[in-house]
Symmetry: C2
Subunit: 150 residues, 2 copies
């Protein structure tokens, strides 16, 4: 095996990488989210090799992140986010926030997000699902869970 299989590790990070950790996969997901739902659109937008795009789309469909659906009586297909895939977009939003903060430089953010609830251009923040207070690296203790390795 050339690329190690992360899916078998008792680690949700490794397992998630097994789904979207391959090169291009997050960008494919971003494109679908942004409305580039067809093979040709994604290929042209990203400049990705057609071979690799085929592999990535198939993998994302197998993993239940995307759904492949026909949109014509000719053999034409578009890819749409499933619920599982829509929740993965959270991950992209956090990547955007970090990239905007640390890598965008002078030019500023390439894309802005306007939040429907308040109407403002904003960005995501991490909070505790239980108490709502901020929740970052230093705000938690790690404990072994029920699915921990033996």
């Amino acid at each position: 095996m050339q690329r190690t299989n992360f899916g078998d590790m008792a680690c949700s990070i490794a397992r998630t990488l097994d789904v979207i950790g391959e090169p291009w996969s997050p960008l494919v997901l971003r494109d679908v989210y942004a409305g580039f739902t067809r093979f040709e659109q994604i290929q042209a937008d990203l400049g990705i090799s057609r071979k690799v795009l085929t592999e990535r789309l198939n993998h994302l469909v197998e993993q239940g992140v995307l759904e492949r659906r026909p949109y014509d009586r000719r053999p034409r297909y578009e890819y749409v986010l499933t619920e599982k895939g829509t929740e993965l977009v959270d991950l992209l939003m956090v990547m955007v926030r970090w990239g905007d903060t640390w890598l965008a430089g002078q030019a500023g953010a390439p894309v802005l997000y306007r939040h429907h609830a308040c109407g403002e251009v904003s960005r995501v923040d991490l909070s505790c699902a239980h108490c709502g207070e901020p929740m970052h690296a230093g705000d938690v203790d790690l404990l072994p869970g029920p699915g921990a390795a033996s």
Copy 2:
């Protein structure tokens, strides 16, 4: 060039992938966060090739995510998270949440997070940095930002 360089794209997701998108990098970051800070510890914990681990650590140090610091008068080094790297842990926490939800199965979460502020075992949630309300894929409009491509 074999692997396309994402860092030049006008996209914070692509730029972030340029920093931690290579195979193993998020797991290396996780290990450092979890207290496996030395080469031998990380190598043994992950089972990663020594060659690849060297490459990943060097890259993460170059990108300012990790700092390499001596801990002995012998040539011994440990890797610690910088501020830039600590903020990347947010990304890991979101990966954990998604993986726990969609991939953990019967066994349940391998690791639990206890939040200092409330003392409860919890998980991260995404909220708007401006108004504090939930902020997910369907809750925003995308707009071109100042750093958008010409």
